[in-house]
């Protein structure tokens, strides 16, 4: 069991790290989670439960998409548009402790209609995604912690608003390892440097091998979408010669102190680096993709090119068996992309940028049979208020009720769980806390969230802290 392993034991495991990678055979691949094996800690491990999914693609809509303008259909907002009504506003409560403040109802700016076999109501904000409602499992009753972006973003990724905790991808990698030996097991595409930045894909106190590897950064050019230091400045031959020299020197040293596992581990980390250098660039190169595929993701068109590339990269990594892939639509500012406090119509601009690429990804995953064992998770750090912020023309943050959707990975397709109140302000039925969502996603990956623990500073930590329960209603 993981719980019985001391930090020291795990660190020593990680220091054997890549050392024994070359020896990793079938046995290693069949480790059970947490078995203190004498082998590569990144090797794929057997989960606690029979898994429904093998990997996760998280499409992070940074800043917070308005649920009432997209997927949470509330006719009352149209009927009561302009009326001043009393709401428990999260920001007002945090600042003053006062419940009930007068707010002006603002109707959705996009029209709702029914879609798909399931007849799900969705607005025309995301026309392409709407074609897939029969594949999506909506949770309309999400709740989270943190009224501001920073804390809420950290909570979304790490399950804590400020304390230093490992991010979800790191936990998953720690729990399940990775079947791919030339690519990192946890990759984040275009992460933002704001609102917690690297901490959102950090390993915190878990061994460093479980940290997320960034591909590019938010706002970067498509050419940045690669792993750092993957390419040498030297010519192929000079590179190989230099690597050969190092390899021989290591071999000499090892022949003098046979069985020196630390020395061997460092030597082998270079072997792995060399393999990554050879193998990863191909895996990360979109050049081999066909014209129709590129078109399907909106690559080559101004509005969708950037996010389209990110989504296509996600599919490629998915094929390579990368465990946890995050794709961020956002930027590095304190008010990230979807943060429309004053100008809600701007949601339309962002929606155009992500809609085609996400629909393209879903279609592509389905076609390739990957959706079955991949969880696609779409959502932000919180939602938005159904009333106008300060009686203006935008919406403020809403951690008390918002929508996410999941596809594939054993989540019920064409299904919706939970509900907010008549206005879409607060989750009322079947509330799902962010801790619960984390627990549920882990469950689908075959991990019992209460058993995925790591001992640090005298106590056992987990992603879900002392909370979280699996939402059985959303899984098949």
């Amino acid at each position: 069991m993981l719980q019985t392993l001391s930090r020291r034991e795990w660190l020593s495991l990680s220091s054997c790290g890549f050392g024994s990678l070359a020896l990793t055979g079938l046995e290693a691949r069949n480790q059970t989670i947490g078995k203190p094996a004498n082998i590569n800690p990144l090797a794929a491990k057997l989960p606690h439960l029979s898994p429904k999914a093998k990997r996760v693609i998280f499409l992070f809509m940074q800043g917070g998409v308005s649920q009432v303008d997209s997927f949470d259909y509330k006719p009352r907002l149209v009927a009561d548009d302009g009326k001043m009504l009393s709401f428990d506003d999260a920001r007002v409560i945090a600042k003053t402790g006062m419940r009930g403040s007068s707010q002006r109802i603002m109707k959705p700016l996009w029209k709702f209609a029914q879609h798909g076999q399931c007849g799900r109501f969705a607005s025309d904000l995301f026309p392409e995604m709407n074609r897939f409602v029969d594949d999506l499992c909506f949770i309309h009753s999400m709740q989270t912690e943190g009224v501001a972006h920073g804390p809420a973003t950290l909570f979304l990724h790490c399950g804590a608003t400020n304390s230093v905790r490992p991010s979800m991808g790191s936990w998953v990698l720690y729990g399940l390892g990775s079947p791919n030996e030339t690519l990192p097991g946890f990759v984040t595409i275009g992460p933002s440097s704001g609102n917690g930045g690297p901490r959102n894909f950090g390993n915190a106190f878990l061994p460093a091998i479980y940290q997320g590897t960034p591909l590019g950064k938010a706002g970067g050019s498509p050419g940045d979408m690669t792993i750092k230091n993957l390419q040498s400045r030297l010519s192929g031959k000079a590179q190989a010669d230099r690597f050969g020299l190092l390899k021989e020197l290591h071999a000499q040293r090892l022949s003098e102190t046979p069985g020196d596992s630390e020395l061997e581990a460092i030597a082998n980390s270079y072997e792995l680096a060399w393999r990554m250098q050879a193998g990863a660039p191909g895996a990360l190169d979109l050049a081999g993709e066909s014209r129709p595929t590129l078109a399907r993701y909106g690559i080559g068109e101004k509005a969708t090119d950037s996010f389209g590339r990110q989504c296509l990269m996600a599919r490629r990594l998915c094929e390579q068996g990368v465990r946890f892939i995050q794709v961020t639509y956002g930027d590095n500012s304190a008010n990230p992309a979807w943060d429309q406090h004053s100008d809600l119509p701007k949601h339309g601009f962002h929606a155009r940028a992500v809609d085609r690429p996400i629909a393209g990804l879903l279609a592509d995953l389905k076609e390739r049979g990957l959706l079955e064992d991949t969880i696609v998770w779409w959502g932000g750090e919180f939602g938005r208020t159904p009333y106008a912020e300060k009686n203006g023309t935008g919406r403020d943050h809403n951690p008390g009720g918002f929508t996410v959707w999941l596809a594939g990975g054993g989540f019920k397709p064409g299904f919706a769980h939970g509900a907010t109140d008549d206005f879409g302000a607060a989750a009322m039925e079947g509330k799902v806390h962010m801790h619960d969502l984390h627990a549920t996603i882990l469950h689908q990956l075959g991990i019992e969230h209460e058993r995925l623990t790591f001992r640090y500073a005298g106590r056992d930590f987990r992603l879900t802290d002392v909370h979280g329960k699996v939402v059985n209603e959303v899984i098949g």
């Binding site: 402790g97 000079a238 020197l249 020395l263 406090h341 607060a426």
Partner: protein, 953 residues
């Protein structure tokens, strides 16, 4: 929200049902009511009839033995027995018989705002509350005699005092040994005893070259030079090692290495993660630590200065400066400045300080006790709030939407003070002149937008909610007119002026409106920036102070894609609300020159030229402002008070106040007295460094041992509680602690003592016997092989390449850097001087396990990952240093033959010559590539990348 309170109705129904059952059970006696004065029997009947059912229905699900068994007990309170409420829960006794007003339970029932409210599902009906009142007034008769089921959570204080780390430190007897020749110092005797007891023999000493490389990295973080190696290896004097050690201890580089250890346990960082704000003054603390260690300032003094420097007496300004800078220690937390609940934030900051202080100096994890008694250690919640009370009295933040840390001015010499006051005077004078000239320029007229500087959003471009009437009646406006709210539909109309800003930066925001006597004298105008919302109230009966048109709404930092808008509302206004335009004017150092569009058209006068000239002067004066020395720190709160227990850590759930105090389990001798008018930090510091404190000395001695020997005597260096590991050699730990305290808390003395021991000099190669009997080297029969830290890897490469910049101290980033995002440095200084930016650590530090700058880290992680290999192979830095090292080699030794050159490179990088086989490998490479600088660069590069370089034998 307009939702009906279903809960209240349901509870009302249940209450009625309860009453019915009750009436049926107890007959007519109850219905007629019994006056409270009619004796004990009646009291019991009253309890059975009225109170017990209420307790059972509303209270016992969370406050009973049954709840406790289900792990559902709340607030540590039992209400299922008389003893339960007498003793009370986390907040103290629950009932005071005879006095409802003094009874916590009764207060909770009344549902006062902001206090503890019970039951949690909703207030009880008035009759039920009255019954409780009657019952308490009767003296709370309660026949339930059961004992509390509650077990003490964690360890009791009594048991705690018997635990090894909480026992007083005592000088142990020195062991008697079989082998009388081996030990060089007393500490060796403790180690050899452990080995002899197991029938084991320590390995032999390291060879001299290995020893010199080891001690050199351990003490100054740099490798020995080739010349130093040759000198030491060839010196037969048995005292040679001692003199090397003394030389290293005196080297400034010792402080640059060891200050970093101290920073590891002080979670030193130069910025904050959320929003990436740079701490512009934190570097002063880093420099303070380096200076203090260089001067071997006693550690107890450093601790006192760090915790209470601002409260210490001083004679010289220099002392005062140093003391103030030391308190930066308290303020370095990686705080969530944007937490909206500021009461919560205040306690979060206190919690963070306690965590760092207790883990770092006492090896205690106290923060568990924020919400409940510590589950394993003898630390009750009351102890936590006794400590928290002290730091709650230290103000560390100015609260705002995004709160701000505190900076205090440092004393200045008279010349500096004069220079600054002159500067301030000149600025004020220029501002006054400009204002006066601008006043003259006021007048009526129509101002075209194109003539205005900055980004101007006219009223036509504003997003309108409600009807806003266009007008040009006043003949004094910008563009084609202005709008007003028709003095109607108050609270229903808003205007938003959203700016599309070309660049991130600081802007002054100005609002233009149409003034007049029928206008509102209080209009609410909000500016939304990434920093949040700032509300202004504008008097529109008077003309705008700037040119009769504009009023300034202040300066803000804006981001290109962040929120940047002004929202004007007619809420609560009397009279017409008007708006003409909003201007975003780039200012300060972040000002981006915008296309010049000329000044106001009506102002092309001499006065206007004068204004321009004066403004130019003001700008350059500001740009060349003298530095104002400040230190980050804390100040005493105005109100000094004890903290109340926050039940389950919640600010909304306050329990009884706890007098300020220290950890009871580690208190020997008199408890410190906490003055009424001071926070108590000084008293706390004095307790921490008291020789009677069982923790501090042990924790420090163990840390120093760990930083030299690679593992602690207590291996869980930050955790001396019951979940930590016990010491492998408790007597040795006490011996070292006593030595440390007796020698005046001198870091250098203890380092010297450990380094000169036999144990330190042993070879790190284990014998077969030892590998088998003691695989983890808990008996210290050999030296521990260590790895170089990130800083050592970087600094050594720069050093070997002759490229290390020896400059000391000062900030490592540009003066006006606001945020740390994407910060890159090409500094060649020692790594301790690189800014420890929490969002942009230098890559080499990040890759090689630099500690998390948000938490105490007495022992760093040690990982081997492929990213390190990729970095060494392909990043420009290692290759660049290899190139410089190769060139330096050529310049210094132009005429070496290839074999000697290979040997020289080995000695310089790894501290020892190559084996024959290794020489042959390198020679072969030279033969293929030619004896060029490039080939030599490749060799240096390979040696930097090699496992040998990273390991410290």
């Amino acid at each position: 929200m307009g939702m009906p309170n279903l809960l209240g109705n349901r509870q009302g129904a249940l209450w009625a049902l309860g009453l019915l059952i009750l009436l049926a059970r107890s007959g007519s006696q109850i219905a007629s009511g019994i006056p409270p004065s009619q004796g004990e029997a009646h009291g019991k009947v009253f309890f059975e009839a009225k109170i017990r059912p209420l307790l059972e229905l509303h209270c016992l699900p969370c406050h009973s033995a049954e709840a406790f068994a289900k792990n559902k007990l709340k607030g540590g309170l039992f209400l299922d027995s008389r003893e339960g409420w007498t003793r009370g829960g986390d907040s103290g006794p629950s009932l005071i018989p005879g006095s409802p007003a003094a009874s916590l339970l009764f207060k909770a029932l009344q549902y006062h705002q902001g206090e503890l409210n019970m039951p949690p599902k909703g207030k009880l009906p008035p009759q039920a509350i009255r019954d409780f009142e009657t019952w308490i007034r009767m003296g709370a008769p309660d026949p339930r005699e059961g004992k509390i089921a509650k077990k003490q959570l964690g360890m009791t204080l009594e048991k705690g005092r018997a635990f090894w780390s909480y026992r007083p430190i005592q000088r142990p007897p020195v062991p008697v040994l079989k082998n009388r020749d081996w030990a060089l110092t007393t500490l060796d005797r403790f180690l050899l005893k452990g080995l002899e007891d197991k029938g084991l023999t320590p390995v032999g000493d390291s060879d001299k070259a290995t020893l010199l490389r080891r001690v050199s990295f351990d003490l100054i973080g740099l490798p020995p030079t080739k010349e130093q190696l040759q000198k030491f290896v060839n010196n037969p004097d048995p005292k040679a090692f001692e003199s090397v050690v003394d030389q290293l201890l005196g080297d400034y580089a010792f402080a640059e290495r060891w200050a970093r250890h101290w920073l590891d346990i002080s979670r030193y960082g130069d910025s904050v993660t959320l929003r990436g704000f740079v701490y512009p003054q934190a570097w002063r603390y880093r420099d303070y630590v380096i200076e203090s260690i260089h001067n071997d300032v006693p550690i107890n003094q450093i601790i006192r200065e760090q915790i209470a420097g601002d409260l210490l007496p001083f004679e010289k300004d220099a002392t005062r400066s140093k003391n103030l800078i030391a308190t930066t220690y308290l303020a370095l937390g990686n705080t969530n400045l944007e937490e909206q609940d500021k009461g919560q934030l205040r306690m979060d900051v206190v919690d963070e300080m306690l965590d760092v202080l207790c883990k770092g100096l006492l090896g205690q994890t106290v923060t568990c006790a924020r919400c409940h008694d510590h589950k394993f250690d003898p630390i009750p919640t009351a102890d936590y709030y006794a400590l928290a009370g002290i730091f709650r009295n230290a103000k560390a933040m100015e609260h705002d939407n995004v709160s701000k840390w505190i900076e205090v001015p440092l004393p200045m010499n008279p010349a500096k003070a004069m220079e600054l006051s002159q500067h301030d005077f000149q600025v004020a004078d220029l501002e006054r002149q400009i204002k006066a000239l601008k006043g003259k320029e006021e007048g009526k007229g129509i101002v075209p937008i194109s003539t205005l500087p900055g980004i101007v959003i006219d009223d036509e471009k504003a997003t309108k909610v409600g009807v806003w009437q266009h007008s040009n009646h006043s003949m004094n406006f910008i563009g084609s007119g202005y709008v007003h709210d028709q003095n109607a539909d108050k609270g229903k109309k808003t205007l938003s002026f959203t700016a599309e800003l070309p660049e991130n930066g600081k802007y002054e925001v100005r609002l233009a409106y149409s003034p007049g006597t029928n206008r509102s004298s209080a209009v609410s105008v909000s500016v939304f920036s990434p920093g949040g919302e700032k509300v202004h109230t504008i008097d529109m009966t008077k003309p705008g102070p700037i040119g009769g048109l504009f009023v300034s709404l202040g300066e803000y930092h804006f981001e290109k894609s962040g929120q940047s808008f002004v929202l004007l509302s007619n809420e609560n206004s009397k009279g017409h609300v008007t708006a003409d335009a909003v201007m975003f004017l780039p200012v300060g150092d972040n000002a981006i020159p915008l296309p010049k569009q000329g000044g106001l058209t009506r102002a092309k006068t001499t006065a206007n030229l004068q204004i321009k000239d004066l403004e130019q002067q003001l700008k350059s004066l500001r740009a060349n402002a003298p530095d104002r020395p400040m230190a980050m720190g804390v100040v005493e709160e105005k109100t000094i008070e004890d903290a109340r227990i926050h039940i389950r850590g919640l600010g909304s759930n306050l329990g009884r106040p706890v007098p300020r105090g220290v950890l009871q389990v580690a208190l020997y001798g008199k408890a410190p007295l906490f003055p009424k008018e001071k926070s108590g930090r000084l008293e706390l510091a004095d307790w921490i460094v008291s020789p009677q404190n069982p923790l501090t000395g042990r924790v420090m001695a163990n840390r120093i041992w760990t930083w030299l020997m690679g593992h602690g005597i207590v291996r869980t260096v930050d955790n001396f509680g019951t979940t930590g590991e016990p010491p492998t050699h408790p007597e040795l730990l006490d011996f070292l602690s006593m030595e440390f305290l007796d020698k005046g808390w001198s870091l250098k003395s203890l380092v010297r003592q450990i380094v000169l021991s036999r144990a330190y000099r042993l070879s790190s190669v284990a014998s077969k016997e030892l590998t088998k009997a003691d695989p983890e080297n808990r008996l210290w029969g050999r030296s521990m092989r260590k790895r170089l830290d990130a800083e050592e890897i970087r600094d050594a490469m720069l050093w070997i390449a002759g490229n290390l910049d020896p400059a000391r101290g000062g900030p490592g980033f540009p003066k006006n850097l606001e945020t740390d995002y994407g910060f890159l440095t090409n500094s060649k200084r020692r790594s301790i001087y690189l800014p420890a930016f929490r969002n942009s650590l230098p890559e080499i530090l990040e890759v090689f396990d630099f500690p998390d700058t948000s938490v105490v880290m007495g022992k760093r992680n040690q990982t081997i990952v492929a990213h390190q290999a990729l970095y060494m192979l392909n990043a420009p830095f290692p290759a660049g240093q290899a190139n410089l090292a190769a060139r330096l080699d050529r310049v210094k030794q132009p005429d070496l033959d290839p074999v000697r050159r290979i040997q020289s490179a080995y000695v310089r990088v790894l501290g020892h010559p190559p084996t024959l086989a290794e020489t042959q490998v390198a020679l072969r490479y030279f033969q293929i590539s030619g004896d060029s600088t490039q080939a030599l660069e490749a060799l240096y590069h390979a040696l930097f990348a090699s496992a040998e370089f990273r390991l410290l034998h």
